[in-house]
Subunit: 172 residues, 3 copies
C-alpha cells in the first residue's frame, strides 16, 4: 500500500461523513475530536431559585461547531444543581415545597451537624443531591438533541453569592 | 521530516492500538472519533412501570462498532427516567411504593400547582428527579462495561402514551 | 490538491492546538481521541460509609495524558454510589441520618419485598438512587475541572465486601 493510497483513505474519511440512515438510527465515522469549555456565572438573589439556562448552553453548542458529541453541564458548587425538566412556574413552586419537606432549611447545629462548621446551608447540600449535580446532553446535527419539553435549569439552593456552571463539549 | 515519515507515524497510530496493560488499567491512543444516535420508542400500558432496555442498548453499541467510548442513555420526556439497578421484581415493587410515598399521585390542583395547567402528572415530574434522567455507561472492548448486576431500565411515571429514549455513543 | 498538501494540513491540525481564548471560553480543534479505563476496588468495613476518591481519579487523569475530555466515574455495584459533594464529616453524618430516614435498613421481607430473595440490602438499593450511580467530570488543561469544594466520593450502602468503581476517560 502506498503512502498516497493511505493518505487518500485518510483524507476521504476526514472530509466525507460516512453516514448511514437506518430508520431513526444514524452512524458517523472518521472525524477529528473537538472540545469547548465555558463557565457561566450566576448571582441568584433568593436563597432557592431555578433559572432556565438552555439558551446559554445552546449558544455554547453553536460556537463549538460540534456536530455530533456530548455536552456536560454541571454546577461547580455543591449547594446547587443542574437538572432538566419543565419550564412551568407551578412545577417549580411544587419542587421548592417538596425539597423543603425532604430537607428543611434549619441553620441550627442540632438537626444538621454540618452547620456546626459555621455554615447554615446543610439543607442545600441535601437538596442538591435530590436534583442532581449535572446533566449530559447529546449533540446531534449541531444541536442539543432534546425531547419536546426538555429545558436545562440551574437550581440554586444557597444563593445571594456568585456561583459558576461549567459547560464542556466534546465531539466532532 | 518527510511527508512519508509523517504519514507513516499517522498510519501506525491509526491502525495499531497503543495499548498498555498495567494491572487493571488500559490506555488507548490515536483513534478517530465515531458516533451513533438511536431513538427507542416506548408505549407503556401502566401509569408507572420499569422496562429493562439493556438488550436494546447493547445492540446499538454493537452496531456503532465503537470499541472505547461513552454511551449516554436518556429519557427524552420529563416524566420518565433512565436508571441502572437490579432486574428483580421485588425491588421494582419496593421502588414503586417508595416513590409513591415520596411524591404521591394527586391529580388535584391543591397539592401540586403544576396540575393547575390541566395536567395530572406533577407527581411524575417529582419521581423522575429521584430516579434520574440519564445514565452514562463506559464502552470497553466494544461492550457496555458493567458490574455483575447492572441493568439499564426505562422508568415510566406517566405512561399510556408514546415516549422516546435517546442512545448516543461517541468513541473510537 | 496534492497529497503533500493534504498531509501537511493534517499534520498541522494534529500537532498544533487551535486554541481560541474568548473571556473564559476556550475551543480546541483537531486532536485525536484517547481513552483510558481503570477499576478501583473498595472493601469498606462498615455497612454505610463515604470515601474520598478524588486523589485516585486525579491520578488516572494524569496517567491518561488527556488534556481536554470527559471523565466518567461510576459505581459498578447497585448498592453503592459515586457522588460529588463536600469533604466535611458533619455533612457526611447528616447524609447518613437523612438517607436512613428516607430508606431505613430493614432486613425483614415485610417492608421490602426485595429482601424475600434472601438479601437484606433493599434499603441500599434505595439510598443509591438518591445519591446517584455516577458523575461525569470535565477534564480541562489535563486536570479535573472542579469548583472550589468539589470532591468525588464513593458511597457505600452495603459494605463489608469487595466492590469496584470504574474510571473511564475519553478526550484528546
Amino acid at each position: 500500500m502506498s503512502v498516497r493510497k493511505r493518505q487518500g483513505v485518510w483524507y476521504r474519511t476526514r472530509k466525507k461523513r460516512n453516514t448511514v440512515n437506518r430508520g431513526e438510527a444514524q452512524t458517523n465515522q472518521g472525524w477529528i475530536m473537538k472540545s469547548k469549555t465555558e463557565y457561566l456565572t450566576f448571582q441568584i438573589k433568593k436563597r432557592m431559585e431555578f433559572r432556565n439556562i438552555t439558551p446559554d448552553v445552546e449558544r455554547v453548542v453553536l460556537e463549538s461547531a460540534v456536530q455530533e458529541g456530548l455536552c456536560l453541564v454541571n454546577a461547580m458548587h455543591i449547594t446547587a444543581s443542574v437538572f432538566i425538566n419543565d419550564d412551568e412556574p407551578g412545577l417549580h413552586r411544587d419542587y421548592k415545597l417538596w425539597l423543603e419537606s425532604l430537607a428543611p432549611f434549619d441553620p441550627s447545629p442540632e438537626r444538621y451537624h454540618h452547620n456546626r462548621t459555621g455554615e447554615d446551608n446543610a439543607d442545600a447540600h441535601h437538596k442538591r443531591q435530590i436534583m442532581g449535580r449535572e446533566v449530559v446532553v447529546a449533540i446531534t446535527g449541531g444541536r442539543l438533541d432534546f425531547g419536546p419539553w426538555e429545558q436545562i435549569f440551574y437550581g440554586e439552593f444557597d444563593g445571594r453569592r456568585s456561583k459558576r456552571v461549567l459547560v464542556k463539549i466534546i465531539g466532532e
